[in-house]
Symmetry: C2
Subunit: 455 residues, 2 copies
């Protein structure tokens, strides 16, 4: 329970309509897409950097945990106030401070939705490349906290590639300004990228200077159907080996296709067991040249058919239906987003199937194959204790496999609370200790999102 | 002077042919392209990470300064052993450990030349985008230490955008591994980018996992001649405002053109006072479309003529002659690489001229205008005390101007020893203190490149 004196001090910082302490109101800030529930003891809604400073300073003085939060769309529990205390909702810091097409820059507060950024810059012929599937309703603050990616990362990179500078408030309540306003700059250490992906454990980001990218003129697309996952994975390797590549390259395995068939019975060839959705972008000529290049290498003995898709909406239809379908059949699914080097995908998918069979776990895999980023879903019944136990052991072996293949445990979801136990598989203790000491520097009383990201 | 006991211990770590202590031999490691001279007291040449650990640990125990060094092509003094001690030359760590075109990755040791990386990956249709003018003879270790850019940064970004992971040895002699081998990864803090641009003050980089980019099919080019710098700057703003932009956009002012005329009398139109060299890349169609787009916006009342260049070598001929010409006429020139937002270039160049006039300094400006990155050269006679004094005051005002325009003091050269006094103009004391404390974490005894980067 928060001390009454602390609540009183908090109430002096913000008007009543920007502090929730009623447990019912607080409960709506207790969860994210990890489906875990940790109610905060209070929710605060700052409007300015100065207010964030005041709130953080008060929490720091009183050693009250404070968890920054956007719209709670994360899947790894990064925004959950696991240790209670304050949920710092940035959802009312929604100003787009500057749209500057001449310099290809937009400056915005953390509560602005990714989609709102896109809407603001599209008229000038630009976009901001990070495109998590939550883009319509996730905030740029959350995108920054996780270095969000998405299907187009294969061509455009992830959030960390598209930020010039940040303003933030450290756990000590100090305002820092990182990076610069220009596309080049090497003055001082790169604290911008240190904050990106740090899941609110180092500082509360209160302003971001985002770098814009020219919108591609057009999109084109291909779908390719394969008789098995291994030949499909071989095609992914071939496609990524040619210099002129796709703007998105999504893989769907047999389990994914079964789910889609249940919803769209006539969408897929009957004997298809794996599928690629391939998007290319650029001028009409570029698209034609790129599609021809891809078509020439994606053919192998397992290819059933490959066809061009005129309407890019129909290209994405199957893919977009997938996550909700998975939630329907397995609300407590384990959803990982591991990454392996692209040329190990055939081996990875093969061994993954063996592990799922060995542990008797229903397993559905799909994702951003061009980056080697596969969403591995273990569909379990939460009430089946034995199945839960098997899933845990299976997951542990999947992570070992990923590391053995020189991959990484998370490509875009982050660690949050979900994956922290597994971090030592990937990061050696020396490097991890250094990271923890950086955390101490920024947040000496461990109030910012305590317990997250580290094992 | 190094203690004899220390030299003896060092001699136990490396064979005699990999330790220099003779002052004559050490002197060849005393300078870089800043033309300052600071001889080390010993030079060591490790071959492995383990040897770097042993050397750093020994220096750390004995609190002996240690300055990592590639080929000494930097212009900011970053590789100079200003406080004496050891020069750690990485020039013999020259293995390209892995060329992996399927995953678009190359793994290499820090002493490998930038050009050698290009040669190794070109047969597979890839390149590594950082292209400092020293690329033929600068090391990737040095490129990483400064987050080197170059003319193509306007399209491809700088070093920090093209690195997946690093291995390094901290000032405490501990080996850390940062980042990952895949194009996506969000596990732990981004120490990769923290090391990039840190000028050897945090860790000695001993291995780098570099991300490759597909080689463009072709290059095309344009030159555009203007009657004055302001109309030329307006054209730069217009060109960078259109979505499909150049792969390089270099600006040369009247002073630069005078120098070129002295060498190539017939190269330029007589009344030309400013010039753009514009490169575009892609397929033939893309090049044509991009050139047409640029031609349509680069015309303004100050344009004398714009012409396509068939041979890209001739495009770069004038630009490449420039730096040596400047050295010939002013060996002690002050060479800055400030950056301003692109749309402030007209104002910047205008005020720059006013300042040069006011302080009676010969001033030549050129550079990577697409990034707003201008190399400002103050051509001074080192023996003229009054001129030196005026140049210093002029430079101070130039930096104030840059900051007022929301720019940055260095785009690609780094701070080294040359610019450290000016850092507080750009970085506030809170942020700077945090950076210094990060330095302390990595290097508790301040042995790694001591005195650099910070004011």
């Amino acid at each position: 329970m928060l001390p009454l004196e602390f609540i009183n001090q908090l109430s002096e910082l913000l008007p009543a309509d920007r502090i929730y302490t009623d447990p019912v109101e607080c409960y709506t800030y207790a969860y994210d897409n990890s489906r875990k529930i940790f109610p905060p003891e209070a929710v605060v809604f700052p409007l300015t950097t100065e207010e964030v400073v005041a709130i953080v300073s008060l929490c720091n003085t009183n050693k009250i945990p404070l968890t920054p939060r956007g719209r709670g769309t994360g899947t790894a529990g990064g925004s959950l106030p696991e240790k209670g205390g304050i949920a710092l909702s940035l959802e009312r810091m929604v100003r787009i401070i500057r749209v500057d097409p001449a310099n290809r820059v937009v400056v915005a507060e953390p509560g602005v939705l990714n989609q709102e950024i896109q809407n603001a810059v599209k008229p000038y012929g630009f976009f901001w490349p990070p495109d998590p599937s939550s883009a319509a309703f996730s905030t740029i603050g959350g995108n920054l906290a996780t270095s969000a990616g998405g299907p187009h990362a294969v061509k455009y990179g992830t959030t960390r590639d598209h930020v010039l500078g940040l303003k933030g408030v450290t756990g000590a309540g100090e305002v820092i300004k990182t990076g610069c306003y220009t596309t080049k700059g090497v003055v001082g250490y790169d604290l911008t990228r240190l904050l990106i992906g740090s899941e609110g454990t180092l500082a509360v980001i209160t302003e971001a200077t985002l770098k814009l990218t020219p919108l591609p003129e057009k999109q084109g697309g291909l779908v390719a159907y394969y008789c098995d996952a291994i030949s499909c994975a071989a095609a992914i390797v071939a496609i990524m080996g040619i210099p002129r590549g796709p703007s998105a390259l999504e893989f769907l395995d047999a389990g994914s296709l079964s789910l889609i068939r249940a919803r769209f019975p006539d969408l897929l060839p009957t004997n298809c067991q794996a599928m690629l959705m391939i998007e290319v972008d650029g001028s009409q000529n570029e698209i034609s040249e790129t599609i021809n290049g891809i078509l020439s290498v994606c053919r192998n003995s397992g290819l059933l058919q490959a066809e061009q898709v005129i309407n890019s909406e129909s290209l994405w239809k199957a893919r977009k239906a997938l996550s909700p379908l998975l939630r329907d059949i397995a609300p407590k699914k384990i959803n990982e987003d591991v990454v392996v080097p692209v040329n190990t995908l055939p081996q990875f998918l093969d061994e993954l199937t063996q592990l799922a069979t060995q542990y008797r776990i229903v397993n559905v895999n799909f994702g951003h194959a061009g980056n080697g980023n596969i969403h591995v879903n273990l569909l379990i019944d939460p009430d089946d204790i034995d199945e839960n136990y098997r899933a845990e052991r299976c997951l542990n072996e999947i992570f070992d496999l990923v590391i053995r293949l020189n991959g990484t445990l998370s490509g875009e979801h982050g660690i949050g609370s979900e994956k922290r136990a597994y971090i030592p598989k990937e990061i050696d203790s020396t490097t991890l200790t250094l990271m923890k000491r950086i955390k101490q520097l920024f947040d000496p009383n461990d109030i910012l999102n305590p317990g997250k990201l580290f094992p």
